[in-house]
């Protein structure tokens, strides 16, 4: 399979959207594009399984094309199980995101073009095997967010958009320096300097270089995934963004960081990763506990989900920091689970906000009687978030905990226990928010006239919900796919 198709498809769709003339044409073209992309991703999954069953090892469907010859920079793509899973996640979230943006009124063409462009960056990032290509796609996915939040957002949107753009660019500046450090340490006996991931994985970077550049790369990517104390862009960015952008931001963009930490920082610099592992675990534990407590104080539904994302993404970093096979597997599962769950959550919140024009928990109430479908998906997302067995959140978090427990040593055990305990706090805030906004008496008489979800919203919720349940009920296919060594 030609992997570049996955990057080109959103771009082609975006160009067609740009030239669509009919009223409402943009959304239909986008929906067609992202559906084709979803089918392509499923096709990739099936082909991948076939290849693996036939016994192929390493990266599959590799494609190399020279980009800047004198600097040994290549356009190099290829996939392993993790990338396939992430691509599938992106495709699912994109379909849902387009479906919930059905009613974007102003500048709808621009909206869909930017959204598609953003997704092209994410696909490219997950496919890249050359660090230059990877960095290129990482940065592509920053500026569309700025415009999406600033133009179509709500609340203090300009402030949030600016904060998000600057902090993420700060992260990528660190990644940039780290990548240059990696590049200039690959030369010598092994051949010319290179950005090529498989080659660097073979050379074993010098320990001194690993110690210097691991923190840069890890913190740089960590900013994308809300590493404490660089998480402050998350609440503002997520809550000001329009629904589709929130879904993409929390569902996919934050995973770019986790994926980068794993693929670039940890796997290319294993020695430094082991040395810095206590620091990572400390920061991740703080993020988990602090995020959970901070969520308790929130009154706005979007802020609740944004802060809980900090806590949940802490599990990703915790799993990566523990460095045991199971924990890392759990981290990747958490990336996927959180991607689906948070997208569903933001979709539900967006639907509620579209109708009631408020996101404040205290002003909502009794929604279950008025819009049963939306309330149900809200509850499903909430239960997934607090780790109810049978949904994906449980599978991922338990895997992280089991993997973390394998790391012996008192400090690691304490971190694991603290992380486990945070689930209780999660339950508190989720149940409280659900109880106040979904159950109970109807607080505002005007809510009685509101309609339930439309077909497009239902479809979006069903797609995301299916993913959550598929992983929750039968996690083995995912763990087989990931197959982390």
């Amino acid at each position: 399979m030609n992997l570049s198709l996955l990057v080109l498809m959103p771009l082609i769709t975006a160009i067609v959207v740009l030239f669509s003339r009919r009223e409402g044409g943009a959304r239909w073209v986008s929906l067609t594009g992202v559906t084709v992309q979803l089918l392509l991703s499923f096709g990739l999954l099936i082909l991948y399984w076939k290849e693996r069953a036939a016994g192929s090892m390493g990266m599959l469907f590799e494609y190399r094309h020279v980009w800047f010859k004198p600097l040994n920079i290549w356009y190099h793509v290829g996939v392993d199980g993790i990338s396939v899973a992430m691509i599938l996640l992106t495709a699912v979230v994109m379909v849902a995101a387009v479906l919930v943006s059905w009613r974007v009124q102003s500048w709808d063409k621009e909206f869909f073009v930017l959204l598609l462009f953003l997704s092209a960056g994410a696909y490219g990032f997950f496919l890249s095997l050359d660090l230059f290509t990877l960095f290129f796609f990482l940065e592509i996915s920053v500026i569309p967010k700025f415009l999406l939040i600033g133009i179509w957002g709500s609340g203090k949107k300009e402030y949030s958009a600016m904060k998000l753009a600057l902090m993420l660019m700060g992260g990528s500046a660190l990644v940039f320096v780290g990548l240059l450090g990696v590049y200039y340490n690959t030369g010598g006996a092994a051949g010319p300097y290179t950005f090529d991931w498989p080659v660097i994985a073979q050379v074993h970077l010098p320990v001194e270089a690993q110690r210097r550049f691991f923190p840069l790369l890890f913190v740089g990517f960590g900013i994308f995934t809300a590493l404490f104390p660089f998480h402050t862009w998350v609440p503002d960015g997520h809550s000001s963004a329009p629904t589709a952008a929130s879904m993409f931001l929390a569902g996919i963009s934050m995973k770019l960081g986790g994926y980068g930490c794993l693929r670039v920082a940890v796997s290319l610099m294993p020695i430094a990763a082991r040395e810095y592992s206590p620091v990572i675990i400390l920061l991740a534990t703080i993020a988990i506990v602090y995020g959970a407590f901070a969520t308790m104080m929130q009154k706005d539904l979007k802020y609740i989900n944004a802060y809980s994302s900090i806590s949940h993404c802490g599990f990703i970093l915790l799993g990566i920091g523990m460095l045991t096979r199971t924990a890392v597997m759990g981290a990747v599962m958490q990336m996927i689970s959180h991607g689906l769950m948070t997208a569903l959550f933001f979709a539900a919140i967006g639907m509620i906000y579209d109708r009631t024009h408020t996101r404040l928990v205290e002003r909502l109430g009794g929604l279950l009687k008025i819009m049963p479908f939306i309330s149900t998906i809200f509850v499903i997302a909430g239960l997934c978030s607090l780790g109810l067995p049978g949904l994906s959140g449980f599978v991922a978090e338990v895997t992280v905990f089991m993997g973390s427990w394998q790391r012996t040593g008192e400090a690691y055990r304490i971190a694991t226990i603290l992380a486990c305990a945070s689930i209780v706090i999660t339950a508190v805030y989720i149940l409280r928010a659900t109880g106040q906004s979904i159950m109970g008496p109807v607080k505002d008489q005007q809510y009685y006239g509101l309609a339930d979800a439309t077909w497009n919203e239902k479809l979006a919720a069903v797609i995301l919900g299916a993913g959550i349940i598929a992983i929750g009920v039968a996690p083995f296919w995912l763990s087989d796919l990931l197959n982390i060594k």
């Binding site: 800047f68 004198p70 940065e139 700025f146 415009l147 600033g150 700060g170 450090g181």
Partner: protein, 470 residues
């Protein structure tokens, strides 16, 4: 013999022909319409651009005074392309200007000066080329004849230019005293890094630093950029700066190669100061011209970072960046110049709500600014990446880290403009503007360069194959 000389000098000669042609038109009796003259000049510049692609063998003329090779031809062609774009963009401004002919005579004199400066193999020739370009430039900067601000800018410019030329000449004469020659090749052999030679070198370096507006020699820049007509500002910030960078890197890499250990540290310092100061001042500007002026100071800092690499990759990255910079900066200046000519509005606040009325201009501005900020997939990303990558070759990662963080700072003020254009609104937004054909072509060229150039790896490969380094 003659044919050889003419062919080697083809770019300079054609520019000279245009100048004389304009001169004859001016003093001749027949009155031509301004449009005809503008079209003629643009056409001839296009011919000159095409001539640059004609490969001819390397040669050395006038007893080593004048060198030419493929790299220099390419550099001149880059400048020629930039001048052509500026000339196209200036069409709507010059069309109604009484002194359009004089404008071109002055402009092309500076271009010819730059050509000779880049090609020089001797300090005298270098100085001659530099002055041939500096003096008409000062006249150009006061070309808004009715505006006091414009004459003030010219005054400041000529004083600071004279000062920097003085420093440069002092350095050159000291170097002559130390080595007994003015020829680049022989100087390189006779340099031994003695204190006296170092002193001469510092003076020459200061002269250069003035021209590229490196901090702390940048004080003239903002006022001159603001006071001059926008077309001239664009020319100053792109062509003039680019040309000086071309000769600067050439002298550093060949003539002053024995002093590499000394100038490396100076350049790192200059680079950091220039980036930080340029960016910090740009943060609070409300006039677009001043903002672009300070941003162009900051960009000089990045270019200096590329020069410190002192490898072939360093040279190639600088030339590549200047090519990219021509497209991106001229795209931005083009929009500012067009809107200013049509409506007279130049501050960021005036741009609020621009997207609702002028989507095309807004996207040109946005892509140009993204390219200046170094956001992929625009060409600026590749330009910045290669500059810092070349700089990192020396292993000074603290320096590269500072540079990378400066890219984040610069993003803030570029995004401020984007925010005004796309997100804000105002009671009286700029009305719908119709772009005439020639500026439109110029915009398309800029946009094409910004969007496509990074994806075409062979541009960089070609530049790299010609570049020098050690």
């Amino acid at each position: 013999m003659w044919a050889d000389t003419i062919l080697s000098l083809r770019q300079e000669l054609l520019v000279a022909v245009i100048i004389f042609l304009l001169l004859f038109i001016k003093v001749g009796a027949a009155a031509y319409r301004t449009e005809v003259i503008l079209h003629l000049v643009n056409l001839l510049l296009l011919v000159n651009f095409a001539l640059g692609f004609w490969e001819y063998r390397d040669s050395i003329l006038f007893n080593g005074m004048f060198h030419t090779n493929k790299l220099l031809v390419l550099e001149k062609n880059i400048l020629n392309l930039g001048t052509l774009i500026i000339s196209l963009q200036a069409y709507s401004w010059l069309k109604d200007h009484r002194q359009a002919t004089e404008f071109y005579i002055l402009l092309l004199s500076t271009l010819m000066g730059f050509f000779f400066m880049i090609s020089s193999g001797n300090l005298l020739m270098f100085y001659l080329g530099l002055e041939l370009s500096t003096i008409p430039l000062t006249a150009l900067s006061s070309f808004d004849l009715e505006k006091r601000q414009s004459s003030e800018a010219a005054m400041k410019f000529i004083l600071s230019s004279a000062f920097s030329s003085g420093l440069l000449l002092f350095g050159i004469s000291l170097l002559y005293g130390a080595t007994g020659t003015l020829s680049f090749d022989i100087i390189a052999q006779r340099l031994d890094g003695s204190a006296f030679q170092l002193f001469a070198f510092i003076l020459i370096l200061s002269g250069f630093a003035f021209k590229i507006s490196a901090v702390p020699f940048h004080l003239w820049t903002a006022d001159v950029y603001e006071g001059s007509p926008i077309t001239v500002t664009a020319y100053l910030s792109v062509i003039s700066k680019g040309a000086v960078f071309f000769i600067f890197i050439q002298t550093l890499y060949t003539v002053f190669k024995p002093m590499a250990g000394n100038w490396y540290r100076i350049l790192v310092l200059l680079s950091v100061l220039t980036m930080v100061t340029g960016n910090l001042f740009a943060l609070r500007q409300n006039k677009l011209k001043r903002l672009l002026a300070f941003s162009s100071i900051a960009q000089s800092g990045f270019i200096l970072a590329g020069i410190t690499g002192s490898s072939r990759a360093g040279d190639a990255s600088v030339i590549y960046f200047i090519l990219v910079y021509i497209f991106s900066n001229l795209g931005a200046f083009g929009v500012v110049s067009f809107i200013s000519t049509q409506t007279g509005r130049e501050s960021i606040d005036d741009y609020k709500g621009l997207y609702a009325t002028n989507p095309l201009l807004s996207w040109i501005m946005a892509l140009s600014l993204f390219s200046l900020a170094g956001i992929p997939p625009t060409a600026g990303f590749f330009g910045k990446f290669f500059l810092l990558m070349a700089g990192a070759g020396k292993g000074n990662y603290v320096f590269i880290g500072i540079a990378a963080l400066n890219m984040v700072i610069s993003l803030y003020y570029y995004l401020r403009v984007i925010k005004a254009i796309f997100m804000d609104s105002q009671p009286q937004p700029i009305g719908k503007l119709k772009i005439p054909l020639l500026p439109n072509i110029a915009f398309l060229v800029c946009l094409g360069g910004i969007v496509v150039m990074g994806l075409m790896g062979w541009v960089y490969d070609y530049i790299y194959s010609l570049s020098i380094g050690f």
